[in-house]
Point group: C2
Chain length 566, copies 2
């Protein structure tokens, strides 16, 4: 039932997603709602039937280190095999690379269902899929032929290996060293941390997509991208060791490893000294995957809250039997608040995916640059919005369940624990917000924001339903103007960066909400979506106003930080 | 160091707490800042030296059920003995009852320190202390003589036994039955759940302060209060059984029990049919204790975040060594946001405690009624504000630590797990908010709110520093007026109840913040407090405005709930 409701909403939202005309124009035949619906249904069945049943074991047993290797929980390997065998890894890869050539928007919908079932499980697929796409684009033919089919079949897996103990948000401080020895072979030495699925027993070989320092150039300019397998082609060990598994609050099924590299043989991918640029596309795709991750986990918590609230009877006339708590205004408000945010975040994720599809498929250079600018604006919002959504909605769902939600008898506390890291990994909220200022607003002169505002204004008439959106777009424009002018007042602008990110998120959300009200239709599914969107719109203006004011408050309130830390 | 900072802030805030003149006038000699400072210092040492070291074991080992009895973690019993032996249970009890006769405000300060160290540990003290106060006031002399000294020495402990599977927020649905048999002896039969420390091995005897149905009168009118010991006076079992320990997200050291009562002998406390009224004072005191619980846990998380941020080096010129992350504007904002909320919540808790002290000690009936009305307004705010503060600040602190915060190597994730239930137990956020409307605003015609607004206006001049507060007080007055007029529009009002509670919290917070800026002084401690308060005040108006608007939005946005749940 929860998966069915989610699949219905996804199918409807896919049908009415923005820019589908443009996508169909660019890639005729790529927009096929009937096929999409069939695949979403299949994904829902897979999520419910195969992934959902293993999530509790993944959480309870987690992963452990035995004899230097990571051992995963019961059922994890079998589910992974079925996931790969059923082709979920190849969905959105180009047919030339052995993929099914379907759009990222459809993949995004399916990922939301998989993450509903288990984010810890689903996390392994992302680097696999995105590394395959990256290698297909930039690796030499030998590496490509060896790795891409194996990654797509799930026989081998990939990681993304960036962070180090002293290089987290500050990538330019990476110290892992790559040097070329005899025979021109690259070898890497160093330690990487926070490596998801850095080791496991789910596949035969693991390739680490690693940023390492290949020259003495300072900062990110000295970094190159390497593929570092945990075993050599002949099966011999390659000097790659798991040093520790982190004991985490949640996501226990996804082993987070500290990895040591001791003279490990490595293949240079792309140009030397351009590691970050080579990774760029893969990181965009990984960031996109964060959006349905958050929405899926939020949806899971919301579904539990709805089910509980329907059954739980409390209150009403003391002389009569108690009423279902869905009868209470405050509970209705809690449910619709969650529902509104989830439905809108779903729409943002799908919109960002369609824009990425256009960025990948569009053949006209100028048009492609426009879509990529829009994607660069939407992706951090989709990523961070969903990340915080998942945690907030899990917490709000727990509140609906009350004491029951605080226990392990209900799966809500697990969602809460899993979700808390989403706003930390793949770029924290603060990093996304600073990036929005420094790169999007200042370096690119707000190209993406302007494009979004223009598109949203053109897309939605300023009538009754459109009024809140237009008010918020106007406010966003004003605030963006103010912050653009604060290029030399970095500190003032940065003190409002997170509020600005939130304001952008609310504006994008308002656009999606207004679209949904107009297009979702009048059947049961459409009415459900519109109820959620209406609630979101009703609270939009006050919620946007506070962010607008905080974004432009300036940094005077930080002046006493020295006094405080004294 | 963290405990010292906290103790310094507490001592300063106690010195300048509101209404101390009135308290000294009512109870001469009761205001003695030097003695208070000495006791706060002692509490800080005890928290750091005795409680803090056991919290990790309480979390890791939790409590388990063996042979029908609850077994607690290593070190738990020894720490409890020292807590009781050092007199922390008797601090604020009247001297006539064997207490030290010190004010609740001082107790509140000490409790904040204990909760910094371990909320799971500190939770046992509250029902003990408050049950002793309640029994001293209303129990018959035999019961009083048997129980009060034993509770105050910690040899015996108490619980509060209200919830049942079908009676959570809806107390009137209690089904546990009390009936009088031969010899006039009361016996209770039924099941109670969510009983904190319902069983344990820390003391020799446990007395359950239980609401049970003693007549067929409907709702709360049929409820009486009983004291139900787990063992009879002669040590024989009394038909009290632990049926289960809940497996919870956090607070593992505090066993949450499902308790069965099979013909257990019980003593009626207070009048038959007036159980809820008899419990009233105990519940007020328990609610007051929730305030320093939340602040203490928030303070613990904040202290970890500050320590981490001072040490963690990331960012800055790539050619130079990295800077401490406290240099980044967004990190400063995060730290000051937490600090502002914690400092203000501390002030609210202390103010609520002083008002309760006045309510207890004031001899003039009219004046006492005034203080009690103010307490009734402040307590739900202090309780719920601190509850959500603890969870929010733990989450924000985790964000400052990034990936490290998500691991069990740092104590922040533990605070997050512990804190999540604070807004659930002792009355959920929703219940506090509805109560504020129905009882405070409508039934009592907003007496407490009006009194608060008048006192705050009189206390703080409308100058530069006072301007934000006065603006928010005016807004609160308007909103309260609107909601007062919605007495017949229950659904409209209830859909904004939580926002109204938040608005009240911000207004009270604004009052405290403005007071702190005026009175905190200019030494290092004062400057630290003022830095936090200034940040809070700088964001006050926008944050209050959104709540004001949401509080008065009406219920139209809930109209489609039927469509949504379809």
């Amino acid at each position: 039932m929860p998966y069915r409701r989610q699949a219905e909403a996804l199918v409807r939202q896919l049908e009415i997603a923005p820019f589908l005309d443009a996508l169909e124009a660019e890639a005729p035949g790529s927009v096929d709602p009937d096929i999409w619906a069939a695949i979403v249904e299949q994904a829902a069945r897979f999520a419910e039937g195969v992934i959902d049943p293993v999530d509790a074991a993944l959480d309870r047993q987690g992963a452990s280190l035995r004899d230097g290797r990571v051992v995963t929980a019961d059922g994890h390997r079998a589910a992974w095999r079925r996931f790969a065998d059923d082709g979920w890894l190849t969905l959105a890869l180009p047919e030339a690379a052995g993929g099914q050539g379907l759009p990222l928007a459809l993949l995004t919908a399916c990922e939301e269902l998989f993450n509903h079932a288990s984010p810890a499980f689903t996390m392994l697929a992302t680097p696999n899929r995105t590394a395959a796409a990256m290698l297909e684009n930039v690796a030499d033919p030998t590496t490509r032929a060896a790795w891409v089919p194996q990654l797509l079949s799930g026989e081998w897996t990939a990681t993304i290996c960036i962070s180090e103990p002293d290089a987290g948000s500050d990538v330019g401080r990476i110290r892992t060293r790559a040097s070329r020895g005899e025979g021109g072979i690259w070898r890497v030495n160093g330690e990487k941390c926070w490596i998801s699925y850095g080791d496991h027993d789910l596949a035969a070989r693991i390739g680490h997509c690693m940023l390492a320092r290949s020259s003495d150039a300072i900062g990110v300019r000295g970094l190159s991208l390497f593929l570092v397998p945990n075993a050599r082609d002949d099966g011999a060990p390659n000097g790659v060791h798991v040093r520790r598994i982190e004991e985490k609050l949640g996501l226990h099924g996804s082993p987070t490893c500290v990895m040591g590299f001791d003279g490990a043989e490595a293949t240079l991918i792309g140009e030397e000294g351009r590691g970050l640029q080579t990774l760029f596309h893969m990181m965009l795709l990984m960031r996109l995957s964060c959006a349905p991750q958050g929405v899926g986990v939020a949806e899971a918590a919301l579904a539990t809250a709805i089910g509980y609230a329907r059954d739980r009877r409390q209150g009403g006339d003391p002389a009569a039997p108690p009423v279902a708590i869905t009868a209470h205004a405050d509970v209705q408000r809690q449910l619709l608040r969650m529902a509104g945010r989830v439905e809108i975040a779903r729409g943002i994720a799908l919109a960002a995916a369609v824009v990425m599809d256009l960025g990948e498929r569009c053949t006209d250079d100028e048009a492609r640059a426009g879509w990529l600018a829009l994607a660069q604006f939407l992706l951090p919002i989709a990523k961070d919005h969903s990340a915080r959504l998942a945690f907030d909605v899990a917490s709000e769902a727990l509140q609906v369940l009350g004491g029951a939600g605080y226990t392990k008898e209900w799966p809500v506390e697990r969602r809460l624990r899993d979700a808390r890291v989403f706003a930390v990994f793949e770029g924290t909220t603060g990093i996304q917000a600073i990036d929005l200022l420094h790169r999007r607003l200042w370096r690119e002169r707000g190209e993406g924001i302007k494009r979004f505002i223009a598109l949203a204004r053109a897309d939605v008439p300023n009538g009754e339903d459109g009024a809140p959106l237009h008010a918020v777009l106007n406010r966003l424009e004003e605030v963006a103007q103010v912050l653009s002018g604060w290029h030399e007042r970095t500190r003032d602008a940065e003190s409002g960066a997170t509020a600005f990110l939130d304001l952008c998120g609310l504006a994008v959300g308002g656009w999606i909400a207004t679209r949904l009200i107009t297009h979702a239709g009048d059947d049961a599914v459409g009415r459900r979506i519109r109820a959620a969107a209406r609630f979101f719109l009703a609270e939009l203006e006050p919620r946007a106003e506070v962010e607008a004011r905080l974004a432009t408050l300036g940094s005077a309130r930080l002046d006493a930080i020295g006094d405080y830390l004294d």
